[in-house]
C-alpha cells in the first residue's frame, strides 16, 4: 500500500473508505493490534456471566472468573472451532461447554474435560498442550472499570494508548460522589451502512449539526420557547435537542482538542447545571465527597464528546458510550450503552436517560439524519470518475500545535479529520515496516 498516494496533510484518497484491501489491512494492523473496548466490569457481576463481542474479526467473550477477575477469551473451541457462547450475553455457570462434543473449559479458558480422553493417548493433543484450551486475549487491562483487550502481545500499555483520552472515563466516574459508574444492562445496536471513519469524523464535526439536524432542532426549539413562555421553564431534554440547531457562529466558537493517536475532545456541554432541587442536592453530595474546589472542577469540565480512536465515542457528562465494530468497508456495527452514576439522586440518572432515549436509542431523533449522510457519503465515494479526493482543507494551517496536541482555533476546523488521518497513517506505516 502506497500511503503517500492515499494520505496528504489536507486531503485523503476516497479508497481509504471503500477499498476492501485497505479495510482488511485496517482490521489486521489496527483493530487486531490496538487496545479495543470489551465492556464494563459491571456487565458481568456474577461468576460465569459473559458478554460476547468482536475485536477486528475475532469472536471474543468477556467472562467473570471464579477468582472474580474479568477474563477476555477467544470464543472458539480448540477442538473443531465451534463458538462456545452462542448468545450475546448470558451465564455459562462454572465452565464453558461446547455444544458439539462436550469439550469443557474453566472460566479462564483452561481445558477442564474432554470426553473419552483416552482417544488422545499417543497424540500430540496432550492435556497440558495449550491447543487443548481456549486461547486468552494476548493482553487484558481495565481503567476505572472499563475493560479493554489487545490481541497483540507487544505495543503500548493501555494507559499509554489512552493517554489524555482517559479523561473520558475520569469525567464519567468523577461525576459520581463515589467515583464509580455501573452499566445499564441494555445494549442498542445499529448497523451503519458506511465506513467506520464516517462516524469517527462526524462525532467532532461541529459544522454539521445545524445543517444535518435542523429538522429536529428547529421544532424542539419552537416547543421549548413556547413552554418557557407558558410555564416559565421547559424540561432540559428540549435543550438537548434544540442545541443541535445552534447557529454556525456558536459551533465555530467550540474548541476541539486533537490528541495523539487520533483521540480527541469536543469541548462545551449542554447546560447540565440548572438550579433545580435535584441538581442542588447532587452538587451538595459531590462537594461533601470531594471538597468544594475539586467538586467544582469535576462538575464544570467542558466536554461534549471524547473520542478514543478508532472506535469509541464517549459522551461522559451524560454517561453514554458508543463503540464501533467494523464489519466491512461499507458496514459498521455500533453498540450503544448508558451508565448510571453510583450514589446520586435518581433524578440525575433520569435526566441523562432522556438523552439516551431521544438521541441514542433506535428511535433517535438525531442519528436518523447522520446515518443518512454517511450512507450517501459511502455511495458518493464509490464514484471513481467524479473525483478521487476527500477535502479536509477547512482552516488548514490555522490550528495551534503544542506538545503533539492540535488545538482548533475555530470549532469548525477540519483539524479533527486531519489529526485522525495522521494517526491512521502512523498505524499503517508501522504495519508496513513490520
Amino acid at each position: 500500500m502506497n500511503l503517500s498516494a492515499l494520505i496528504e496533510p489536507d486531503r485523503v484518497h476516497r479508497s481509504v473508505y471503500t477499498d476492501p484491501a485497505i479495510f482488511d489491512a485496517e482490521i489486521e494492523h489496527i483493530f487486531e493490534k490496538t487496545w479495543v473496548y470489551c465492556g464494563h466490569e459491571s456487565q458481568v457481576p456474577n461468576v460465569g456471566d459473559y458478554w460476547t463481542m468482536t475485536i477486528g474479526r475475532q469472536p471474543m467473550v468477556m467472562v467473570r472468573d471464579r477468582d472474580r477477575s474479568v477474563r477476555v477469551l477467544y470464543n472458539r473451541c480448540p477442538h473443531r472451532g465451534v463458538q462456545l457462547c452462542g448468545n450475546q450475553r448470558g451465564n455459562t455457570g462454572n465452565a464453558f461447554v461446547c455444544s458439539y462434543h462436550a469439550w469443557s473449559f474453566h472460566l479462564d479458558g483452561r481445558m477442564r474435560a474432554i470426553p473419552l480422553m483416552k482417544g488422545y493417548d499417543g497424540t500430540r493433543l496432550t492435556p497440558g498442550n495449550p491447543d487443548a484450551s481456549m486461547r486468552p486475549a494476548e493482553r487484558v487491562d481495565s481503567y476505572r472499570g472499563f475493560v479493554f483487550a489487545s490481541l497483540s502481545s507487544d505495543g503500548p500499555s493501555l494507559a499509554e494508548f489512552l493517554g489524555d483520552a482517559k479523561v473520558a472515563f475520569d469525567d464519567m466516574c468523577d461525576r459520581s460522589p463515589v467515583g464509580e459508574v455501573e452499566v445499564v444492562p441494555v445494549c442498542h445496536r445499529v448497523v451503519q451502512h458506511s465506513n467506520w471513519k464516517f462516524f469517527m469524523e462526524n462525532q467532532l464535526d461541529s459544522l454539521h449539526p445545524s445543517v444535518t439536524h435542523q429538522s429536529t432542532g428547529v421544532p424542539a426549539r419552537r416547543i421549548e420557547s413556547r413552554l418557557k413562555a407558558e410555564r416559565g421553564s421547559a424540561p432540559l431534554f428540549f435543550h438537548y435537542l434544540s442545541a443541535f440547531a445552534s447557529g454556525f457562529d456558536q459551533w465555530d466558537s467550540v474548541q476541539t482538542v486533537n490528541l495523539p493517536r487520533g483521540h480527541g475532545v469536543l469541548k462545551a456541554y449542554m447546560g447540565l447545571r440548572p438550579t433545580d432541587p435535584d441538581t442542588l442536592e447532587y452538587e451538595a453530595l459531590m462537594k461533601r465527597a470531594y471538597g468544594e474546589e475539586q467538586a467544582e472542577a469535576f462538575l464544570s469540565r467542558s466536554i461534549h464528546h471524547v473520542l478514543v480512536y478508532p472506535y469509541l465515542s464517549v459522551q461522559s457528562p451524560l454517561q453514554q458510550l458508543r463503540c464501533l465494530r467494523p464489519i466491512a468497508p461499507d458496514r459498521t456495527l455500533s453498540e450503544i450503552w448508558h451508565f448510571r452514576l453510583k450514589g446520586v439522586p435518581e433524578a440525575i440518572y433520569r435526566r441523562a436517560l432522556w438523552y439516551f432515549n431521544l438521541v441514542n436509542s433506535p428511535s433517535t431523533l438525531i442519528n436518523a439524519d447522520d446515518l443518512e449522510n454517511w450512507t450517501k457519503g459511502q455511495w458518493g465515494l464509490q464514484s471513481s470518475k467524479a473525483g478521487d479526493w476527500v477535502s479536509f482543507h477547512r482552516h488548514f494551517g490555522g490550528d495551534t500545535e503544542r506538545d503533539g496536541v492540535l488545538y482548533s482555533n475555530q470549532g469548525t476546523s477540519e483539524v479533527v479529520m486531519r489529526s485522525q488521518f495522521r494517526a491512521w497513517a502512523d498505524y499503517m506505516a508501522r504495519a508496513a515496516r513490520a
Binding site: N94, P115, Q214, T216, P219, N357, E372
Partner: protein, 208 residues
Amino acid sequence: MSTTQMGKVLGTGVVIEAVESMTGADSIAPDHYGRGARPSTQYVPDVANVSSALQREVETWLYRQAALLDARRWQDWIDLFTDDGVYWMPVAPEQTDWLGEPSIFAEDRLLMEVRMGRLQHPNAWSQAASWGTNHLVGNVIVESEQADTVHVYSRFQAMELRRDAVRHFGGSYRHTLVRTPAGLRVKLQRVDLMNGQAAYDYVIQAWL
C-alpha cells in the same frame, strides 16, 4: 473392498441405546448447569367478557389508528392521545416505568410534536428517501372494561419500505383507552417490539 467384505464389516456392531438420565456430556464432568433457553417473560393477556359491540368498536378503532400511521397523518394520529397520553416502547417485557428505564420510544404529546415536526420539516434529509409502512393489527382481546376505561391487547406486524430495503417489525400493543366526548382516546399505548433488541439496519423514524 468387495461387496462381500463390506457385508461382513457392516454385519457386526453395537446398538446405541439412550442410558437413562446420563448424556454424553454429563458422563465426563457433570455440572448440571443449563445453557439453553431461559423462561419467557412475554405478557399473556387476560380475557374480559365484553359485548360484541365493544369488541367491534375497539377493533375498528385500532385498525384506523394504524391506518393513520401508514397514511402519515401525524397530527390526526397524535390527536388520538389524551392530553396526558403516552406512547411507550420499552426495551423488555418486564419493564414497568416509562420514565425510569431505557426505552426505544418514551414520548408524551410534546415529544410527539417534536417528532412530527422533524418528519414534516422540509429539510428532514432522511425523509427524502422514499419511505412508508404497512401495518396489520390483529389478535385483538379486550382485557378489561371499567367505567370509562378499556384495556386492549393486540398484536401487530409492520412492514417498512425505505428506498429498496424492506424491514419487518412485530410485537404487541397494549392500549389503555378512555372514553371521551370525542370518542376513544389513548392514555397509554405500550408497544412491546418483538425484535426491539436485535441489531437495527438504520433506525426507526416514526411510531410503529
